[in-house]
Each structure stands twice: as C-alpha cells, then as structure tokens.
C-alpha cells in the first residue's frame, strides 16, 4: 500500500488539479474517485484537506471560466457543439436552456451534480451574457459544494477506500493495468451506446435534404418551431412558414395543427 499512497502523496495535488480540470473541460474522466481517495488520505492525516480543496477549486473554476468565455464569444452555437456529445443533441440544448431559463444563475449551485448540465451550464451562462463576477460567485459556490461532497465521502468512508487501495497495492504493477483497462472499457462502452442510439434516432428523424425535397414537391409538412423564448430572443431566424409554439403550449394549441399532414418539429 505504501508505494501507491506515496505516489498519491507525492503527486497528489497535481493529480487532483489535472483530474478535476480534465473532467470539467469535458473529458470522460470522472474526478470523484480521486476526490474520494484524497478525502480518505486526509482523514488519516496523510494529506492536507485545505490545499486539496483549493487546488481542485482552482482547476474547476479555470475550466468553467474557459467554457464561460467560449460561450460569450460563440453565443448559443457553442451549446449545439457541446450537446453533439450527448445522445440527443436538440433535446439536450432545449432541456438545458429550459432549466437555465427557469432557475437562472443559482442553477450553477447544483449544476455539478447533474450529468450533462455540468459541462453545458458555464457556456450557457456566457451565451446569455451574464457578468463574470456573478458567474464566478455562483460557479465558485457550486464547485465548492461538489468538491467538498467528494472529499467528505472519502473522509467518512475511509475504511472502505483504504481497503480498495490495499488490494490495488497488492496487485502492484497490474493494478495500474487493471485501472487503465477498466477506464478504457467504460469510455468504449459509452461511445458504443452513444453511436447505437444516435443511429436509431437518425432513422426516426427527417433530414434537411428530405424536408427541402418535400417542400419543393408541394407536399410541405407543417413545420413547428418549438424552441423556448430565450432561443428566439438570441436567434430570431425560423424555417419558412414555421409555426411557433413552445413545448408547454403544444397541448393547448393542438387544434392549430392539421392532422392530415406530416408534422416536422425542431427545438434547437
């Protein structure tokens, strides 16, 4: 166990910084296990909790501020880029915009606990022209809450964490190989699932080319723009002849839609 702990103690702060930064910038490398181990080591007095928390907070704020500035520079377009990583890009954009529209900047307080929203909230705040001071305040508080939770978990469950570390140390060199292979498998499975579901979703969608052909042939479907209000304010374009109604209004306004024609929706 000593070798692994010594390694963690020697490079601990750099590992915590790198891991938190990479996760917050969007890499599929969870920082929670590192925070939990750091919390367990802190409980045994092998690591100082305050420097770990400070370094992790700096990494989180740095990555989030980069996203915030990209959001401010690129506007709502950056959301579509970030959401391309998700399983359903348009519902990802709509869902995050709706959440931000309802909760505003305080949503950054719990954004880190919501997978997906975590990476999208900072550029969204930038795209909505929020002030840097307000962003740093809410994102700082949210990051502090998230990082403290991870460290606290390790602190409370230090016996279990130490047990896992001991087993890994017993395996020596192979522990690194096993951890690497498991991490690679997790990324591979996620990538494969995403690819498969995207393929299914593509079959159920209409492509831009097919829609244009239908419109040119005189069989134009009814087009409905279901973007939310903030999207309309930032981007007033719409497809020719598109009806505008938000998702919440659809049930009340079904009568406006002809049942004999195909309906094409877009929400991003």
């Amino acid at each position: 166990m000593h070798k692994l702990v010594t390694y963690l103690l020697r490079y601990g702060l750099a590992v915590v910084f790198g891991n938190v930064f990479l996760e917050q910038i969007g890499a599929p490398i969870p920082a929670l296990p590192t925070l939990i181990v750091a919390g367990a080591l802190a409980q045994r007095g092998r690591m100082e909790i305050v420097p770990v928390l400070a370094v992790a907070l700096a990494a989180s704020l740095l990555a989030d501020t980069i996203w915030f500035l990209i959001g401010r520079w690129q506007g709502h377009r950056v959301l579509r880029t970030v959401c391309r990583l998700s399983l359903s890009p348009d519902s990802c954009v709509r869902g995050t915009e709706d959440l931000f529209e309802r909760a505003g900047m305080p949503s950054l307080l719990y954004a880190k606990f919501l997978p997906g929203y975590n990476t999208i909230a900072p550029p969204l705040a930038g795209a909505m022209n929020k002030t840097v001071a307000s962003f740093l305040f809410w994102d700082g508080l949210g990051s502090l809450l998230w990082l403290s939770s991870g460290l606290l978990l390790g602190y409370v469950f230090h016996h279990a964490v130490n047990e896992v570390l001991r087993h890994l140390e017993d395996l020596g060199f192979w522990a690194g190989v096993i951890v690497g292979v498991v991490l690679a498998l997790v990324v591979l499975v996620k990538w494969w699932q995403r690819r498969r579901i995207r393929k299914i979703l593509r079959l159920a969608r209409i492509s831009v080319g097919e829609l244009k052909s239908l419109m040119d042939s005189g069989n134009a479907p009814t087009i409905v723009d279901v973007r939310n209000r903030s999207s309309h304010l930032h981007d007033p374009r719409r497809l020719p002849g598109a009806l505008r109604m938000t998702i919440d209004e659809i049930d009340d306004r079904l009568g406006e839609l002809p049942r004999e024609r195909e309906i094409v929706l877009y929400c991003a």
Partner: protein
C-alpha cells in the same frame, strides 16, 4: 404518442443544419406592444 397525427418527426440538426445547408430562413421580428394607458 403522435396524438392522432399522420406522422411527427424532429428535424435532424435543427435550424442550424437547415441554415448551414444554405436554405432560406425567415427573420422573426419581435415587437413590444404597449397597451394604451399602461406605464
């Protein structure tokens, strides 16, 4: 799910994909209307 409609499909790529393909989009002008006597 389709609530009695012939067929309902989302547009792949949304408004950006349509615009990026070089097709025409309309601009929606948002006008603030003030009621007579208000504020």
């Amino acid at each position: 799910m389709d609530k009695g409609f012939t067929r309902v499909r989302p547009l792949e790529g949304g408004l950006d994909a349509w615009s990026d393909a070089g097709y025409y989009t309309e601009d929606e002008t948002i006008v603030a209307i003030r009621r007579p006597g208000a504020g």
